[in-house]
């Protein structure tokens, strides 16, 4: 094919939508990240490395920081702030699951490095038991909840996916968590949740049971006691903080949007 010779290519390669969309801006310039990131170094770069999901940079920055800064400060003032920004980017639709997952990997690597320096696991705020409904192998949502909670300093007992009702009930009995979460993607597996609620109630256990996932709706989750609907994985830390302060499942049903600081439609994600 013979191409015509064109001197001025501007009209071919010009992006007409620049004015409409605005130029593509780097993630650190987005309002979500600017609002969540710490101002001072090295916390800012630590947090930003988490936002970008770059495990290698996180690790090298953490190792550097450990020479002068306490491991706990690195986690709380740096890494965790990065995860806050990731949550905000996810909420605004800028980030999608892959971004959240690589950020989570980077942050967990950073935390592990800090705990190594500390010689022990960090002090935890409270205990949460997480699981995926019996019969359901879809655990991405649950893994995100686990990761967001760990990043926020909670001790998470992760029961995994496809967890039998009895195992969940036994774990609650043994671990005495402040909160239980259950996720389900399939309409066929979510029926496990009211059964778990029944068993816990019959044993006199009254803890919030946060249920979420593609198959669920607020309306359905509130059809059984203890249950409240969790709309998005990144809401978990704020919900945990509220539960830690003593908020129960009845209040969480009513005050959900207020607690997480976002509007939720009450449908699965």
């Amino acid at each position: 094919m013979v191409l015509p010779k064109i001197k001025n290519t501007d009209f071919i390669f010009r992006r007409y939508n620049v004015e409409l969309e605005g130029p593509a801006i780097p993630v650190e310039e987005t309002p979500e990240v600017k609002g969540a990131l710490p101002k001072e170094e090295p916390y800012k770069s630590l947090a930003l490395a988490v936002v970008k999901g770059d495990t290698d940079i996180v690790l090298s920055k953490v190792k550097d920081a450990l020479k002068t800064i306490k491991p706990l400060d690195i986690i709380e003032k740096g890494l965790a702030k990065g995860m806050d920004a990731v949550g905000a980017l996810y909420a605004s639709g800028t980030y999608f699951l892959p971004n959240v997952m690589v950020a989570a990997d980077a942050m967990m690597a950073g935390i592990a490095e800090c705990e190594k320096a500390l010689g022990k696991a960090t002090e935890k705020k409270g205990k949460v038991v997480c699981h995926v409904a019996e019969g359901d192998p879809h655990d991405i949502g649950k893994n995100l909840v686990v990761m967001f909670l760990r990043a926020a300093g909670y001790d998470v007992i992760d029961l995994g996916r496809d967890v039998p009702i009895e195992t969940v009930v036994d774990a609650v009995k043994k671990e005495k968590p402040m909160w239980l979460t259950g996720t389900a993607l399939m309409t066929t597996t979510m029926s496990a949740f009211p059964k778990i609620s029944e068993k816990l109630k019959s044993m006199g256990i009254d803890i919030p049971f946060g249920c979420g996932g593609g198959a669920l709706s607020k309306e359905w989750v509130e059809s059984f006691d203890l249950g409240f609907f969790g709309a998005k994985a990144h809401h978990a830390p704020k919900l945990a903080d509220a539960i830690l302060k003593g908020m129960g499942w009845k209040d969480l049903r009513v005050k959900y949007n207020e607690v997480v600081g976002e509007y939720s439609t009450g449908k699965g994600w």
Binding site: P98, D139, I140, T187
Partner: protein, 342 residues
């Protein structure tokens, strides 16, 4: 005028011809057409029916006989390809258990190997045989649809979804290699479905949904493969993507399928102008209205879907196994009532 058969009607709509009314079908979607009540009525139960062509075909026909649904569809799950390629599947023991992948097989492009005899592996022969039986028994009267996975979804199943999603950012070359590999498998399987007698092949690509990956990632990784699949299939074909898919509807319509299937989160009147001649299948709420709602609520949703411009009234993502038969009937009846074209 002689009334159209459901098969003629579906064919005409997908080919862009005028028909007497909108049909009530479930040609596409991750869920199937069979519920627990149908299993009880026929005495044919899951998980056995997932593995036996005769039982599979009988249950599929029951979904028409017991509700008037204007199609038949097999299989009732969507893990045939990963199973044939070696993924471990959990079938579950209950009548509402949907088989699912529990162990993934490939962790790098070097490991990808397509078996020569893929059409003879796992339950692929079961599905193909079930299609043959359906063709013989109802193929003159009802449209037969069958399911093959979208390349992105199959690729994610082969690698494990969590790992695969991180590859989208970290190892795009891996994603491409897995998707390319999956594309070949799907084309071969889908062609075999037509050959066995399927009228309409549904490509179901739930993992490519904006619920999981960004529209950019969809355009980069999933869409080219969907186009390649469509280009290689001569028969009628549909594309189903569930979740909040509205942002990729123009891309879905662009992939070369006769129709796209979307769920309740998508606003049909809004997308109607974006899809050109591509038909829209949907989008009665599978998870709430059909599963838990009253027949009146189903009727109201059908009325709205028709007014919004669907070409086929369908559940947004197939029927959940616990969907009551009366709600499926309500969907069919309401469609016949409100779907007449003037």
């Amino acid at each position: 005028m002689v009334e159209l058969t459901p098969k003629e009607r579906a064919f005409k709509i997908l080919k862009g011809e005028k028909v007497d009314r909108i049909p009530a079908t479930s040609l596409a979607g991750c869920g199937g057409t069979v519920n627990v009540e149908m299993q009880e009525a026929t005495g044919i139960f899951w998980p056995e029916a997932h593995k036996d062509p005769e039982k599979m075909a009988k249950l599929a026909i029951a979904s028409y006989e017991l509700t008037g649904l204007e199609c038949v569809r097999v299989p009732f799950d969507f893990v045939e390809e990963p199973e044939a390629l070696g993924c471990k599947i959990k079938f579950g023991e209950k009548v509402d258990s949907v088989p699912a992948v529990v162990e993934h097989v490939f962790s790098s492009p070097e490991e990808l190997k397509k078996p020569e005899n893929i059409l003879e592996l796992g339950r692929i022969p079961v599905v193909l045989k079930a299609i043959e039986i359906l063709k013989e028994r109802v193929g003159d009267f009802l449209p037969i649809s069958s399911l093959a996975l979208g390349p992105f979804t199959l690729a994610a199943m082969l690698a494990g979804e969590a790992r695969f999603l991180t590859w989208v950012l970290k190892k795009p070359d891996y994603v491409r290699a897995f998707v390319d590999f999956s594309t070949d498998v799907i084309i071969e399987y889908a062609k075999a479905q037509y050959k066995a007698g399927s009228h309409i092949v549904q490509i179901g690509d739930p993992t490519a949904s904006p619920d999981l990956i960004s529209p950019d990632a969809f355009r980069q990784f999933a869409k080219p493969a969907l186009i390649e699949v469509a280009d290689n299939l001569d028969g009628l074909k549909l594309l189903h993507i569930c979740g909040k898919a509205e942002s990729i509807v123009p891309d879905m319509a662009d992939c070369g399928y006769h129709g796209i299937s979307v769920e309740e989160s998508v606003n049909i009147s809004r997308i109607k102008t974006l899809v050109g001649n591509v038909k829209i299948l949907g989008n009665i709420n599978s998870k709430r209205t059909l599963l838990f709602g009253k027949p009146e609520e189903v009727e109201a949703e059908v009325k709205l879907a028709i007014a919004s411009g669907v070409d086929f009234v369908e559940p947004g993502c197939g029927f959940a196994p616990r969907t009551p038969t009366r709600n499926i009937k309500a969907m069919v009846e309401a469609t016949k009532k409100f779907g007449v074209k003037t």
